[in-house]
C-alpha cells in the first residue's frame, strides 16, 4: 500500500476489498474460501478490522448475512469463491431479493483471460445472479473496484433493499490499483424516493379521516425502514385508534400485546384480521405488497374498500391489486408526513361508526381462531410454541424459523413487541433458512437469546451450520417441532390429495440429541407435555448451542387457513372441522394453485 504524490492511495485489489469493507463499517463477514478468493483471504488473515465467520456451505453464508442484516438494520456481507461457491449462494441471494434484505455478496471469479473458457470452477456468476439480485457487477478494471464496492453497499441498502453481487476475477485481486473512499455525491442513475407526494398524503389522510371501517395493513417495508419507522407507525396507529394487522414479514413493527393489534393476516392469519381486511372500507397498506399469500382470491379481496398504498418501490403498487391512492416513498418519511397531515387536519372522526367496527372485530375475536385441542399425553406443536413464548418473556430474544407449519405456528403463537426480532423466509420460503440465520443473528447479538423455531425436515437442509455455531461459541437454540413429517406438505396432501402422503414422511431421521453431541453441541429432548417447561428452561440456561428435539403430535394441522382460491372471509377453522370438511376444503380450481 502506498500513497502517491496526488494523495491517492494505491494497493492491490484484495487490499481494496478489505479497505472498502472497513470504510463501509463492516465488522463481520460470512464466507467460505476457495481458489478464486485466496488473495482476499490472505488479506483477511493480515488484518483485524473485519471478522470473518467460516460457514459450512455458501447458502448458509448468505442466510447468516440475512439474519445479521435483519436483526441489526446493517448490510450483511458474504464472501465466497467462484463456480460452486457462487451457485451455492444463489438460494440465499434469491431469498434476500424476495424479502428485500440488504446483502453484499463478493464472489471470486477465474482470472479475466480465462473468463468464457470453461475454466476450473468457472461459472457465469453475473449471468446466473442477474435475476436473483437487485444488481450485480463484474469488475474487470482494478481502478474501478473501490467505486463498485461502495456503490454495491449503496444499492443494497437504499430504497427497497436487496442483495448485490460483486464478482472479482482473481487477477484483479492481485493487481495494483487506486483506492477511492466513500463518495457522498448522488448516484448518477439510482436515486430512490424518500418523502411521499404531499398532495397524495393529504388525500390519503382525508380518506382515512372519513373512514367508518378502517384498517392498517403493514409489512416488512416498515421493518426495513428502520426502528424510527416502527415508532412512527405506533404513533400514527394510536393517534387514529384504528385496528392494525401485518404480514409475516412485518411482525414486530407494531406490538402484538397492544389492543389495536389483530394478529397476522393472510393464508394462516387470524380470523379477525382477515375478516377485517375483507369488510373494511379504507385500507391503509404501508410497506407491504399484496402478495398472493395475503390476498387469497384476488377478485374477492377486500371488495368494498378504498385502498391507500405506501411503498418505496413503485413497481409494487398496482401490481396485483388496484390501489386508489398510491404514495411512493420511504415509510420512515411518509408515516411522519401522514402524522403531520393528520394533526394539521385534526379530523373529527365518526366515533359511532368506529365503535360499531370495533364491536364487529370483537365478535370475530371471540371466535378464538387460534384455539386448539390440547392433549395431556402428547405435546401439541402450538402448545410448545406457546410455552416457549411464555418462558422467554422479558428476555432479550430473537427468533428465526425454517419454513413450514412450525413457521406459521411461530408467527401465530410467538408474539413480537419490537421490530428486527423476527427473522423468517417469507417470499421464497426457503427450508434451511433458520439455523444459518440464527448464527448471523447471534454473531450480531452475542448476549441475546437466539432461537430457531424449526421443523425436523427443514433443519436437516442446513444442519451443518450448527458446526459454525460451535466453532464461534454462538449459543443458538434450535427448537425443533419434530413430527417426523414435512408437516405443511402433509397438511396439503391431506386437504388436496385425499390423504395420500407421497414422500412427506421421513423414515430415517437422525437422533437429534446424539446429532447435537456429535457436533459438540447440547441435545435436549422433550416427549411429554409435563416435561416440556423444565426442558425449555434447561435449554435457555445452557450457555452453548442446543438442539432441542421437541417430539410433537404427528398429524396436527395449521389453522386457521384460507384455502387456495378462496376469499378472506372463507376460512377453515381448526376446532370444528369434520373429515368431510377437510375432503371438500379446496375446490377443483384451487387444487392447481400452490
Amino acid at each position: 500500500m502506498s500513497a502517491n504524490e496526488n494523495g491517492s492511495v494505491t494497493m492491490t485489489g484484495a487490499q481494496i476489498v478489505l479497505q472498502a469493507l472497513a470504510d463501509q463499517g463492516v465488522e463481520h463477514i460470512f464466507g467460505y474460501p476457495g481458489g478464486a478468493v485466496l488473495p482476499i483471504y490472505d488479506e483477511l488473515f493480515q488484518q483485524d478490522r473485519v471478522k470473518h465467520i467460516l460457514v459450512r456451505h455458501e447458502q448458509g453464508a448468505v442466510h447468516a448475512a440475512e439474519g445479521y442484516a435483519r436483526s441489526t438494520g446493517k448490510v450483511g456481507v458474504v464472501l465466497v469463491t467462484s463456480g460452486p461457491g457462487a451457485t451455492n449462494a444463489v438460494t440465499g441471494l434469491t431469498d434476500a431479493l424476495m424479502d428485500s434484505i440488504p446483502v453484499v455478496c463478493i464472489t471470486g471469479q477465474v482470472p479475466t483471460h480465462l473468463i468464457g473458457n470453461d475454466a476450473f470452477q468457472e461459472c457465469d456468476t453475473v449471468g446466473i445472479t442477474r435475476p436473483c439480485t437487485k444488481h450485480n457487477y463484474l469488475v474487470k478494471d482494478v481502478d474501478q473496484l473501490a467505486e463498485v464496492l461502495h456503490e454495491a453497499f449503496y444499492v443494497a441498502r437504499s430504497g427497497r433493499p436487496g442483495p448485490v453481487v460483486v464478482d472479482i476475477p482473481k487477477d484483479i485481486q492481485f493487481m495494483t490499483g487506486t483506492y477511492k473512499g466513500v463518495s457522498n455525491s448522488q448516484h448518477k442513475s439510482y436515486v430512490p424516493p424518500r418523502e411521499g407526494d404531499q398532495a397524495a398524503i393529504e388525500a390519503a389522510v382525508e380518506v382515512m379521516a372519513k373512514a367508518k371501517r378502517p384498517i392498517f395493513y403493514t409489512g416488512g417495508g416498515v421493518v426495513n425502514a428502520g426502528p424510527a419507522a416502527s415508532k412512527s407507525l405506533r404513533e400514527l396507529v394510536r393517534m387514529t385508534g384504528y385496528p392494525i394487522t401485518s404480514t409475516l414479514m412485518g411482525l414486530g413493527s407494531y406490538p402484538a400485546s397492544d389492543k389495536q393489534w389483530l394478529g397476522m393476516l393472510g393464508m394462516h392469519g387470524t380470523f379477525e384480521a382477515n375478516n377485517a381486511m375483507h369488510d373494511c372500507d379504507v385500507m391503509i397498506c404501508i410497506g407491504a405488497r399484496f402478495d398472493d399469500r395475503i390476498t387469497g382470491r384476488l377478485d374477492a379481496f377486500s371488495p368494498g374498500s378504498t385502498k391507500i398504498h405506501v411503498d418505496v418501490d413503485p413497481s409494487s403498487i398496482n401490481k396485483n391489486v388496484h390501489v386508489d391512492i398510491p404514495i411512493v416513498g420511504d415509510c420512515a418519511y411518509v408515516i411522519d408526513q401522514m402524522i403531520a397531515a393528520w394533526k394539521a387536519r385534526n379530523p373529527s372522526i365518526d366515533k359511532e361508526a368506529h365503535a360499531r367496527w370495533w364491536d364487529q372485530i370483537e365478535t370475530w375475536r371471540k371466535r378464538k381462531c387460534l384455539h386448539y385441542r390440547n392433549k395431556s399425553d402428547v405435546i401439541m406443536p402450538q402448545y410448545a410454541v406457546e410455552r416457549l413464548f411464555a418462558l422467554t418473556r422479558g428476555k432479550d430474544t430473537y427468533i428465526t424459523t425454517e419454513v413450514g407449519q412450525h413457521q406459521m405456528w411461530a408467527a401465530q403463537y410467538f408474539h413480537f413487541d419490537e421490530p428486527n426480532r423476527w427473522m423468517t423466509s417469507g417470499g421464497l420460503g426457503t427450508m434451511g433458512y433458520g439455523i444459518p440465520a440464527a448464527v448471523g443473528v447471534q454473531m450480531a447479538h452475542p448476549d441475546s437469546l437466539v432461537i430457531d423455531i424449526a421443523g425436523e425436515a427443514s433443519v436437516l437442509m442446513t444442519m451443518q451450520e450448527i458446526s459454525t455455531a460451535v466453532q464461534y461459541d454462538l449459543p443458538v437454540k434450535i427448537f425443533i417441532l419434530n413430527n417426523e413429517y414435512m408437516g405443511m406438505v402433509r397438511q396439503w396432501q391431506e386437504l388436496l390429495h385425499g390423504g395420500r402422503y407421497s414422500h412427506s414422511y421421513s423414515e430415517a431421521l437422525p437422533d437429534f440429541v446424539k446429532l447435537a453431541e456429535a457436533y459438540h453441541a447440547v441435545g435436549i429432548r422433550a416427549e411429554k407435555p409435563a416435561e416440556l417447561d423444565d426442558a425449555i428452561r434447561e435449554m435457555i440456561e445452557t450457555p452453548k448451542p442446543v438442539i432441542f428435539d421437541c417430539v410433537v403430535d404427528k398429524t396436527a394441522n395449521c389453522f386457521p387457513m384460507i384455502p387456495s382460491g378462496e376469499a378472506h372471509n372463507n376460512m377453515l377453522m381448526g376446532d370444528d372441522l369434520t373429515d368431510e370438511d377437510i375432503e371438500n376444503a379446496i375446490s377443483e380450481e384451487g387444487k392447481v394453485m400452490v
Binding site: V126, G127, R130, P131, K134, H135, L138, V155, G159, R160, K188, S189, Y190, D292, T295, G296, R297, L298, D299, A300, D313, P314, S315, I317, N318, K319, N320, H322, P563, S564, G565, E566, N570, N584, A585, S587, E588, E589, G590, M593
Partner: protein, 180 residues
C-alpha cells in the same frame, strides 16, 4: 366454496391489450441489455421490437426503444420494473407522452424476372424505397417509415418474389423542441 379465480388470475380478461413504445435511457455498460431483456422474459412480458444503440458517446448513454404489448396494468408494471434497474436513467412512455415520430428501416430482398421485376421496382418507387443492390435477377430495397408502411411494402413484395427481410426495429422520438 368451489368458485374459480385466485391470486393467480392476474390478467383480467376484460382488459384490452395496448401497444406502447417505451424509450429507456441507460448507461452503456456490459450486461445492461441482458438486464432489460431478462426482465421481459423473467416476468413474461412481450417484446414486439427492440432497438438499441449508444446515442451520447461522452456520457456513455444508450437509448433503448422497446415496443411492447400488454394490459394497462402490465404496461405500468413494465415501466416501473425498467425504472428500478440500477443503470437505467429514465423511462419514457412515448405512446402517452404527446406526439411521437416512429421510424423503422428495412432491407427487403426480392428476386424475379420480367413483369414481376418491373412491378417490384414500380412499387418501390411508390413507397420511396431505394434499390441499393441489384442484379438481373434481384433487388435489395432500403425502405424507411412507420412499421405499418413497412408491413404493407413487405406484403406487396410477397407475390413478386420476396426472398428475405431484415428490419431494424422501431426508433422513436417525441415531436417538439423538448428532450424526453
Amino acid at each position: 366454496m368451489g368458485q374459480p379465480g385466485s391470486a393467480y388470475s392476474l390478467e383480467k380478461p376484460e382488459q384490452k391489450l395496448e401497444t406502447h413504445t417505451i424509450s429507456v435511457l441507460v448507461d452503456n455498460e456490459p450486461g445492461v441489455l441482458a438486464r432489460v431483456i431478462g426482465l421481459f422474459s423473467g416476468r413474461g412480458y412481450n417484446i414486439e421490437s427492440l432497438t438499441v444503440s449508444e446515442t451520447e458517446h461522452e456520457a456513455h448513454l444508450s437509448r433503448i426503444t422497446i415496443v411492447t404489448t400488454g394490459t394497462p396494468m402490465v404496461i405500468e408494471q413494465i415501466k416501473h420494473q425498467l425504472d428500478r434497474l440500477v443503470p437505467v436513467h429514465s423511462v419514457t412512455d412515448l405512446t402517452v407522452c404527446g406526439e411521437t415520430i416512429e421510424r423503422e428501416l428495412a432491407l427487403v430482398k426480392v428476386a424475379g424476372v420480367g413483369e414481376k421485376r418491373v412491378e417490384a421496382l414500380r412499387l418501390a418507387e411508390a413507397f420511396r424505397a431505394k434499390a441499393i443492390d441489384a442484379s438481373l435477377e434481384h433487388f435489395v430495397f432500403e425502405i424507411t417509415g412507420r412499421q405499418s408502411k413497412i408491413e404493407q411494402f413487405v406484403a406487396l413484395m410477397q407475390p413478386l418474389g420476396l426472398v428475405e427481410v431484415c428490419r431494424t426495429g422501431v426508433a422513436a422520438i417525441g415531436r417538439g423542441p423538448e428532450r424526453m
